[in-house]
Amino acid sequence: MTDTQYMAPQTLDEAVTAFAAGGEAARILAGGTDLLVQMGAGMVNPGVIVDVKKITELNSIEETADGGFVVGAAVAGAVLEEHPTFGKVWPGVLEGLNLIGSTQIQGRASLGGNLCNGSPAADGVPAMVAAGAVLTVQGPNGRRDIPVKDVPTGPGKTSLAPGEIAVCFTFPPRPAGSSDAYLRMIPRTEMDIAVVGVGVNLTMKDGVCTDASVGLGAVAPTVLLVEDAAKALIGSKLDAAALDAAAAACSAACNPIDDKRGTIAYRTKVAGVLLKRTAAIAAKRAAGV
């Protein structure tokens, strides 16, 4: 007989207290699209489930005066899509989140849940890494910021300390001519876990790439920030040579496994292929803003 408890606190402080008190058996519930699957499979048996959907800060979307965004960690993908401007500024981040699962899943899944579940193949993460997004967490010892790229530490593991809850993501303002994109390789057209996922964020000025950042997912124990790929793009006109170099950097950064979703060789090759395609989309979008 399970002794699971459920609570839906109205404030972050209450949530932190309850979550910390629950220790290792406590779980945060946002969309539930990972937690309930794991509970159903017998992989986890929470002592207390802390539902964070009533806490304003975790569920709001704010455009800041300087053009950045603060997105609550529990905001569902479908809700983020309805925001009038977020998707125009960060289409890659949005499309990563809204590629997870199905329409039904997207009605619930959140950036916070996707990141904190710690899957190396998480669709919401590569574009956030490329975006330079920062996660704010709050725990028993207070509040702190963690760059998203430093959150995943291994399959199913994050750098959040015990009792810390993801609160919100801050997306920095960018200069004009910036945009991003996310592509993944899956065997079908929907409903699969990414075999490779690439997020590219870049700024174009007069046809030249003045800034770039590349996040690579599903090819290592954590999502990777591939600095060599970015370096290959920055200063270039995204010509074939630059793209080839960036693609090679992505392939080189791969440290994948053979599993039921893809082989090492396949993932390594596809990482390069997707980098080129994703960069092209990001560049086209960047030219349009």
């Binding site: 007989m1 039921k260 082989t263 060789a265 292929v273």
Partner: protein, 749 residues
């Protein structure tokens, strides 16, 4: 009955069970509840192969909330040395499949079951059952099961005098293939493999069983045959069939996978022991691990042809996985592989190989897709070698009326040639293709079945009709039956109610499967309805005081046959029904027939694909299914069978496969990683219905449901070859496989 004057046959009428299905009120097996109901849960083997030395259920039995426990000791034993066939199954294997007896033969094999007051308690109690296993080495793949040092699953199975995992063989021969190959100008021999796949029904197995204090059992279950459920449950529990009432719930997909029992015998014994109704529902994981998928296979195909395309000899050797107990569908593989062709010299040979995975169950034309795959691939290669259009190659060798098939029968009139000609003439075949796009064709055959069917047609006192038939409806057959009955009586089809009876309310009817439901039930419904019409005419004759021969039935009324018979105004069905007591009794008739005259079905598919050469992903752009259905009594549901089977074939060809880990456990027991086609993967599936009426059936019906799965594997594979120049001989053609082959082909250039 003339085609041009048909009022209902050929119409897309609204199915009688439609409204409950679109409003959520239709009762599927897991939807039914009874007062006092408790829940059953199954303890399953954690090992792929193990001897069961002892089972101690005492702790489970003592657990609060537990009401009953069952083990193999409660299941009737069928000794392995005495065959006991039941349909295409053998009870020796059924009794060992529903619960492991001497050995656990696959990971997930049921070892015990518990009934308790909640699902959670039942599952917990299962964990308290102590099983002493002697773990044995396991073999999953055919090669591993045939290796010289392979673990032998059953010491009672021998092949060529030695203990073996080859449980049986089947062969068809015609002519002299050595002579035939000697005459050939071109010979192509290739090896093929297919991975095991699951039928993929969305509804897991479920049942609710209530055994009364006097031992009489009532079973509601999701099954393709309530009479099979009654028979198997009776045999496995020792309860006489007359004490078992098996009621078919609405069924959420079967495709052959629900033509045997898994849960019903266990729930019956649990209910009997506990005195409570017991509900058992499989989880998706249990379905994938422990219900019967289809075989994986290996085959070697060799075909020889003359320069002008005439096939001189063809041979197919097949190895099919049976799972832990004998019974892979080698019959379908070796019987159907060469069936579309008029070949003077042919041989097919099949090996039934046991290995430590779940026992296979039928999957839509069982064995035939495997049989056809290699043949249709090699034909494609021969066509290319000879510079012939692949449809022309098939036309050159097409079976026709009078052809003697390699598997034995001589064909009556049928529409295989018509399917090829229609394919050639179809817009699809002429449509232009772009870069990385390709087109493939393939053909296929399935035996189709007749078999026992019962029906009852009763006229209600208010002059309407209730038809009871005996087969669960998995494709819309009730609509077709209503069409036929309404047509015969000449009344509005909405006045005909079609119900599916249970084992107590309708006579014996064989399984829903074999593409036979409409074929067989329409025969008995036709006979019953015609007898009812006879009764109605006799009643009118009595009322008019004329000879019954002088009465005809037309448009829902009895009429004098001609002016000589007398000037009487017609008597309608309603008027006669109101006067039924003047006929000596209620107006109704039934029929119970072992129907015959089912003739095989033939189809040809055209598939267009686009391959992404950098990712290896394959998109199906366009698909056309052309098939001789005899007579499309309800065209939309006929199209539905053609479309559904084609999409299952596409899934089998591209992404579906069972993946095993090194412990012999299924690594992808769910819909996330067992990748069936989703809506965004598919194009529209165009259909072209050909109607060459089956002369042996009152409405000309041929079975439709199974043929559509058969040609699809090769149609997709041949399309990929056309797109990128690579011939894949192993399924599935998933992206890493495709990309690897493209890279190798590029490196070779």
């Amino acid at each position: 009955m003339s085609e041009t004057t048909n009022k209902w046959i050929g119409q897309n009428t609204i199915r009688p069970d439609g409204a409950p299905k679109v409003t959520g009120s239709a009762a599927f097996a897991a939807d039914t509840n009874m007062p006092g109901m408790i829940w059953g849960s199954v303890l399953r083997s954690p090992h792929a192969h193990a001897r069961i030395k002892s089972i101690d259920t005492s702790k489970a039995e003592a657990h609060p909330g537990v009401k009953a426990v069952v083990t193999a000791a409660d299941i009737v034993d069928f000794p392995v040395d005495t065959p006991f066939p039941l349909g295409i199954q053998d009870m020796r294997w059924m009794c060992r499949n529903v619960m492991a007896r001497e050995k656990a033969l696959f990971h997930g094999h049921p070892v015990a079951a518990v009934a308790a007051t909640s699902e959670a308690i039942a599952a917990e109690a299962c964990k308290l059952i102590e099983v002493d296993y002697e773990v044995l080495p396991h073999a999953i793949e055919i090669d591993d099961a045939l290796a010289p040092d392979a673990p032998i699953l059953h010491d009672f199975i021998e092949f060529e005098g030695k203990p073996s995992n080859i449980a049986g063989t089947l062969e068809h021969t015609k002519g002299d293939i050595e002579a035939g190959f000697a005459e050939a100008d071109v010979i192509i021999e290739r090896d093929f493999t297919t991975r095991p796949v699951h039928q993929g029904y969305i509804e897991p197995h479920a049942c609710l069983v209530s055994v009364a204090a006097d031992g009489k059992a009532t079973i509601w279950s999701s099954s393709q045959g309530q009479f099979m459920v009654r028979a198997m449950t009776g045999l496995l529990t020792g309860i006489p069939q007359s004490d078992i009432r098996a009621i078919p719930a609405e069924i959420g997909g079967g495709f052959g996978g629900k033509t045997i029992v898994y849960l019903e015998p266990l729930a019956t014994i649990l209910s009997k022991k506990s005195g409570r109704p017991v509900k058992m529902v499989m989880t998706r994981e249990e379905v994938m691990r422990a219900s019967g998928p289809t075989s994986g296979s290996k085959s070697t195909i060799k075909i020889g042809a003359k320069k002008d395309g005439t096939i001189t000899a063809a041979e197919g050797i097949y190895w099919l996985q049976a799972g832990g107990l004998p019974g892979s569908p080698i019959r379908g593989a070796v019987g159907c592989a060469l069936a579309p062709y008029d070949i003077p010299n042919g041989r097919t040979f099949g090996y039934d190989v046991v290995s430590n995975r779940s026992k296979v169950a039928a999957y839509r034309a069982p064995g035939a897709p495997i049989g056809a795959f290699g043949i249709e691939c090699v034909l494609d290669e021969i066509a290319e070698e000879l510079g012939m259009d692949p449809l022309d190659l098939r036309l050159k060798n097409a079976a026709k009326e009078g052809t003697q098939a390699v598997h034995g029968p001589t064909y009556p009139l049928m529409g295989y040639v018509e399917s090829l000609e229609a394919a050639k003439a179809h817009d699809h075949y002429k449509a232009p293709l772009g870069p990385n796009q390709g087109r493939g064709v393939a053909s296929g055959f399935w035996f189709n079945a007749g078999g026992e069917s019962s029906a009852q047609v009763n006229i209600t006192e208010d002059g309407n009709v209730v038809v009871t038939t005996g087969h669960p409806d998995i494709g819309g057959s009730r609509a077709g039956i209503a069409n036929i009955c309404a047509e015969l009586l000449g009344i509005d089809y909405r006045r005909v109610s079609v119900l599916i009876g249970d084992t107590a309310t309708i006579g014996f009817s064989n399984l829903t499967g074999g593409s036979r439901v409409l074929f067989a039930s329409s025969i008995v419904v036709t006979e019953s309805t015609n007898n009812v019409i006879g009764t109605l005419c006799a009643l009118a004759a009595k009322i008019w005081d004329i000879d019954p021969e002088a009465v005809i039935w037309e448009d829902g009324e009895a009429r004098p046959a001609g002016a000589n018979a007398g000037q009487f105004p017609p008597l309608t069905l309603e008027e006669l029904a109101a006067r039924a007591n003047e006929s000596g009794g209620p107006i109704g008739a039934g029929a119970q027939i072992n129907t015959t005259g089912a003739e095989g079905g033939f189809g040809t598919h055209i598939c267009d694909v686009e391959v992404d050469p950098e990712l290896g992903t394959v998109q199906v752009l366009r698909y056309t299914v052309l098939q001789d259905v005899g007579r499309a009594v309800h065209p939309s549901y006929v199209e539905g069978q053609m479309q559904g089977g084609a999409v299952q074939a596409i899934g089998w060809a591209l992404n579906e496969e069972y993946i095993y880990n090194k412990n012999g456990h299924v690594d992808n027991p769910g819909f996330l990683d067992y990748r069936m086609p989703v809506a965004s993967d598919m194009p529209m599936i165009d259909t072209h219905i050909i109607e060459i009426p089956n002369p042996k059936h009152p409405q000309g019906v041929r079975g439709v449901g199974e043929v559509p799965l058969v040609p699809g594997l090769a149609a997709v594979r041949n399309a990929i070859h056309d797109a990128v120049g690579v011939r894949f001989n192993d399924l599935p053609m998933s992206p890493p496989v495709v990309l690897d082959a493209l890279d190798m082909a590029e490196a070779a250039e």
